[in-house]
Structure formats: C-alpha cells, structure tokens
Point group: C2
C-alpha cells in the first residue's frame, strides 16, 4: 500500500499560493483567525494554521475573545474584523460557545473573505458547482490529495462516511463535480461495511477513532482519512485503522501527516485568492 | 406492482394546504407565475399550476413578458412583482431566454416568496438541512410521494439518476435528511444499471425518455419517475419504461399521473406557507 503524504500535496499547493501572491503587487494576504475561549482543539488547529501561513509567506493574526463574551459584544467585534480592509480572509474556529449565535456570524461574514466556506452564499455556490465560491477547506483538501496524486475521479465510485456540513456534504458536491458517482453513508446506514466496500475511493469523515478497518475497504481502494481523534493511549489517530487496511487498500493517507497538512494549505490558497479578489482579480477557487 | 398515483398524494397535501390557509384570517395566498415568451413546456406547466392553485382555493396570476424583453426591463418588472405585498409566492418558469441573467433573478427573488427554491438562501438551507427553507418543488414532491405511501426512507439505499439543481442535488439532501443512504448517478457513471439496482428506492430524474428499464431495477425496488418527456409517437412519457419494470419493481409512479401532480401540490403548500410567513407565522417547509 502506498502512503499518500500530505506534505507533498501541501508543497504543490505552496507553489500555486506563491504564484497567486506574486501577482498581488506587494500586498501580503492577511488571515484573521477568530477564536473564542481556549479549547485545546482550537488551539491546536490555530497553531497549525499560523505555522502554515508563515511558511507560505502569508500574514496571520489571532483575534481572541473570552469564553464568556456576550453575543452582542462578539457580533460588534466580529463586524470590525469583517469590515477591516487590511484583512483578506477570516477563519472562525467553531463551534462557538453556546451564548453566541453561530448562524448570525455565518450570515454576517463577507463571502469574499469567507475562506472556510461558512457563508450561505458560498454554500449555495458549492452546491450548484459554481467555482467562484469557497468550499470548506477540509472538503477541498480531499480533492487536492486525489488530484496531486493523479488519481482519476471521473466515473469512479466514491463513498463518503459522514454527512457533516464541514466535510461530507460539500465533499459530495465537489466529487460529483469531478464526475465521480458518490454515495454518502452515515450513522443510519444499514450495511456500512458493505456499502463502503463499493467505493473505489473511500473517504472517512465520521469523527470516530479507527472505525474504518479492513472490513470496510474493497480490494485496491484508495482511502482518504479526514478524522482527527485521540486514541485510548492519548495518541492522535484518524477514523481509519491504518495498520489493518495495509493488505486491502492500494493507497491511503495517514493521520497525522495526511489531510490535515493539506487543509491548512487550502486555507492559504483561499486566502491568496481572497486577496486577489479584493484587488479586482478573478475569483476562482478550487 | 403497485402504481403510486400522484392524485392521492396531492389530495393529502390539499388537506394540509387548507389547514394552513384556514389560519390566515381571510388572506388568500396569491402566486405570481412569471413567464417570458410562449415555450410549450412553460405553457403546459403553467396550465397545470393554475388549475391546481384554483382547485386548492388559492389565487394565481400570470405575469407574461415578451420573448425578447431586455434584461434591464425584465429586472425592473421583476422587482415590482417581488416587492408587491399582494403577492405571497413567485414561480419563475425557466430557463429564461438568453438575454436575461437568470443568476441575477435568483439572487433578487425574496427568499420568503421563493416557493420553488431558486434563491441562494433557500439552496443553502436545503443543503444544510434547515427546514425553514423552500426546496425545489419537484425534489420535495418525491419525498411527499414516499411519505404519503408510508414508505420508510431511514436506512434505505436510495439511488438518484440525475444531478440537476432542480431535482437530483436537492433531492439527495432531502433523502439524506430522512436518513436514507444516497447515491447520485449521472451521465459519467460507469455501471449505471448495476448502480441503479442497488437502490431500494430508485429515482429517475435524468430527463431522457424511457432510459430506465428492468435492467436498472433491483427486485422489489420502489421506482419514482420524475421525467416528463415526449416519446417517438408524440405521447407524454417518463424517464422510466413503465411496462418493462412491472415484474421487477414493487411500486412505481406512472407518467402522466405521478410526480407531476404532486409537484404542483407542493407548490401550493409552499405558497400557503409563504403567506403564513408573511403574516408572522412560523415558517416551516417540508
């Protein structure tokens, strides 16, 4: 089985980002990461994103608010970030605390700065296959892994485990646009392993540690693991039991070292595109 | 094989519409049908919709524009309809002629009057499973046929042939919300008949006369035919070769007399909901 490394995909995306950034006449794209509170998951994702932006030559600032900030106060502060012409892209770490109306933020965020695709405008574009919209970075990262490794999607059976708005649903649209025949499985799917085995491309995005094993993998399948979980020993692991699929899959992404690194690279690409869009350039994502 | 008649489903929806309309304190919901030119398909759909609205006790008016109306002029006239407080719902017959920017109209239409779900706001809601959005009537009609006939969707394999924004994609979301495991096939699907046979529920929405036959139907499958085509003898027919599947399918909708009648009933339901929403009532579609 071939291990598909995220770092190699990320390096390819870095070239695209540098080309995009090079056409910006001196403007350096700047990302605002909006974080409320100190959730370990958020801090870990933020660290990765900050490191990646800097490695790609982009600017990034963290906008941190106390866990108990009032809804109105947060909205006001978010509006300032949203309106700031120095900020080209905004990443909101979610879920936000309960007192904050996340839906309002999704509707408020300027679609042109919405580099992680949470605005209804971008959601509708991804749904309709309009390439001028930003897809959620993780969903797009899966397609980038496949493309960077010259894996044909057209005509292939693709099975996605998970129907979230962050991965499963938008990824179904992106893979459909690439002409794959897509099936989406979820907690209510009856014969999960059998359905997964139909996939020539199998994407695990359920958020459950090592739930996908050799039973779920058809012979020669390509397995993309979107999960980021912690196993019983406190170690980072994916949704796929990587060791168990070695004899079945033809290729697979590891965790860590797989899709995660590509997700932040896609975030960087979206940021560079957002900065170019601001300058009146063509706005094409994906 | 049992024939699933649209008229019976429509009669059930009529009861819901009358209940909704009864709570409107005398307001009679009014639909505006916007038509540009005299395309036979549009005229035929319009006739059906007008007849249905009247049969359900709702009001309807046709707003007809010449085939060669200029984009700016049409936009202006559309704005008047959109802003008219006497109009609760708007159905735009599409495709519009080439000179008119359909995308602008989709973005202009007031989401609360958008009873056929073309606005990005409603598209995003359908995608995210938010029941306050209007889904395209034809997609919702498929779910209504299944519900009215007590056909369980949860855990079932559902296969949709066609990935349009009018049926295939939104229907995938609606069926996923009902906990079906959904596969979407299209022109680039390699083993179309084999993939279709996996469906316990098979929905034909490809727009090609009689392309689905007994080869595509698994034993006991429920077949819903969304197609409206004209066959070689000039007769109305669906995407399914109805005669050929009699021995294979357990139930199927005919054409005519199937989904079409339910689509206009859903349109009426959306109109009554839109009128209720206007009055400050709860806005729940589906």
């Amino acid at each position: 089985m071939i291990t598909l490394k995220g770092s190699e995909v990320s390096a390819k995306i870095k070239e695209q980002v540098q080309e995009l950034a090079g056409s910006l006449e001196g403007t350096i794209p700047r990302l605002a990461i909006v974080r409320v509170g100190e959730r370990p998951d958020d801090l870990s994702y933020e660290r990765g994103a900050v490191k990646k932006m800097r490695a790609f030559g982009l600017e990034v600032q963290s906008c941190v608010f106390p866990q108990d900030i009032a809804n109105e106060e947060f909205k006001e502060r978010f509006r300032e970030i949203n309106d700031d012409p120095q900020i080209h892209g905004i990443l909101v770490l979610r879920p936000l605390p309960r007192q904050i109306c996340e839906k309002t933020i999704e509707e408020m965020i300027c679609p042109d700065k919405d580099v992680d695709g949470i605005s209804p405008v971008n959601i509708a574009k991804v749904f309709s296959g309009d390439p001028s919209g930003f897809a959620p970075c993780t969903a797009e990262a899966v397609v980038e892994v496949l493309k960077a490794n010259d894996i044909e999607m057209a005509g292939k059976r693709a099975v996605i485990v998970g129907r979230s708005m962050v991965v499963g649903k938008p990824l179904a649209m992106l893979l459909m646009k690439e002409n794959a025949t897509v099936t989406v499985c979820h907690t209510r799917t009856k014969d999960l392993s059998g359905t997964c085995r139909e996939g020539e491309i199998l994407v695990a995005a359920a958020g459950r540690a090592k739930m996908i094993n050799s039973d779920h993998v058809g012979p020669g399948a390509i397995v993309i693991d979107v999960g980021i979980n912690v196993d019983e020993n406190g170690k980072l692991c994916g949704d796929v039991d990587f060791d168990s699929i070695q004899e079945k899959a033809s290729m697979a992404t590891p965790v860590p070292g797989g899709v995660g690194a590509v997700t932040t690279a896609v975030l960087a690409k979206h940021l560079a595109q957002a900065a170019g869009y601001k300058q009146g350039g063509e706005h094409v994502s994906g």
